[in-house]
């Protein structure tokens, strides 16, 4: 008799556990007569409480939770750093170096420290926000159009800010009319259009992912959504990377160096 491989055994056990959980969940559903909520209600943010006329939705509450957790984690991690790094510190340093690499590749300016706070905040915030929906009980804030729009508006405002800071007001305004003055409306239109494209790209990707997971959840809980959720980790990280890259390219277009 052949000896069963350890990996095969583990894989079989996992598959059996998943199928058992699916069968149990079907049984529970049929016993208590569970009616699945419509997909549109599952995706749309619900109002938690209202302050005056302002409705505070689940998006905002989840963002607050995320901000608090990220803030305390950064404070604690910053205090715990040592000369000889452990595993977590290695990961954080790799992340920092990766973000610095993106900045130095796309922004032609001598010190990356000027752009690092903004770009790193965008990258970490969007990355964590995309992955937040995987935790049970929490929903990710990005499928609500307001969060990506706020992110894109931050980039929209920071482009002229860095442009003026690095090149001066006159030279920054001059790049709008650089070859001829006819370029002015095209440049302004492209600045507005790319803000919307930036927000819609993030929103649409994460929203589509969430809708697919919700529809699969209606069809068969526990089996079908799992591969899609694993794929959503990849999509979320990729979207955070692309957002960071595009923000760097836009800011780099405004900075565009000092032709020496």
């Amino acid at each position: 008799m052949k000896k069963i491989n350890k990996k095969t055994l583990t894989l079989g056990l996992v598959i059996i556990a998943v199928i058992a959980m699916a069968v149990i969940s079907f049984e529970i559903r049929s016993r208590i007569g569970f009616e699945p909520t419509p997909v549109s209600e599952e995706i749309a943010p619900q109002t938690v409480f209202t302050v005056g006329t302002v409705e505070v939705t689940t998006t905002v509450v989840n963002t607050w939770i995320m901000i608090v957790v990220l803030g305390f984690a950064s404070y604690w991690l910053g205090k715990s750093f040592k000369v000889r790094p452990n595993m977590l510190q290695n990961a954080i340093e790799w992340l920092k170096e990766a973000i610095e690499g993106i900045i130095s590749q796309n922004i032609d300016w001598q010190n990356t420290a000027l752009f690092f706070p903004l770009i790193a905040t965008l990258a970490i915030f969007i990355g964590v926000a995309n992955l937040l929906g995987l935790l049970p009980g929490l929903r990710s804030p990005t499928p609500d159009i307001n969060t990506p729009l706020a992110m894109a508006l931050i980039v929209f405002v920071s482009v002229p800010y860095f442009g003026i800071k690095t090149r001066g007001l006159g030279r920054y305004l001059k790049h709008y009319v650089e070859p001829i003055f006819l370029m002015l409306p095209i440049e302004v239109a492209s600045e507005i259009a790319r803000t919307f494209s930036l927000s819609f790209r993030l929103f649409g990707n994460i929203m589509g992912e969430e809708i697919i997971i919700a529809i699969l959840f209606l069809i068969s809980p526990f089996i079908l959504p799992v591969p899609m959720m694993l794929f959503s980790i990849f999509t979320g990280v990729l979207q955070a990377y692309i957002f960071t890259l595009l923000a760097c390219v836009y800011i780099g277009g405004a900075v565009k160096a000092h032709q020496s």
Partner: protein, 94 residues
């Protein structure tokens, strides 16, 4: 023929679904071809000049993101059509 007796709500749903299905196919197929061309050219360029890989890689990712946003626009429009059509109250009268 009396137009007001027709089941307008059912017609509305049927037309919406009939538009959204082919629309999303058309809106995703065309950017997919464009993305395939970009990926193919990137692959060819990297295989000719492996040392320029990093630069080509980021440009390819950038163009893929740009092309993907076209498909995303179609997805957003179709989602609005299916789930939150602004014309619904106009046609059905609340």
């Amino acid at each position: 023929m009396d137009w007001s007796t027709l089941p307008w709500d059912k017609i509305f749903v049927i037309v919406t679904v009939l538009v959204a299905g082919p629309g999303i196919i058309a809106g995703i197929a065309v950017p997919a071809i464009g993305q395939a061309i970009v990926a193919l050219s990137g692959l060819k360029a990297i295989s000719r000049q492996p040392e320029a890989g990093d630069r080509i890689n980021s440009i390819v990712l950038l163009s893929l993101a740009m092309l993907e946003s076209l498909a995303i626009y179609v997805l957003a429009v179709m989602l609005i059509l299916v789930f939150a059509n602004p014309m619904r109250s106009f046609i059905l009268g609340n």
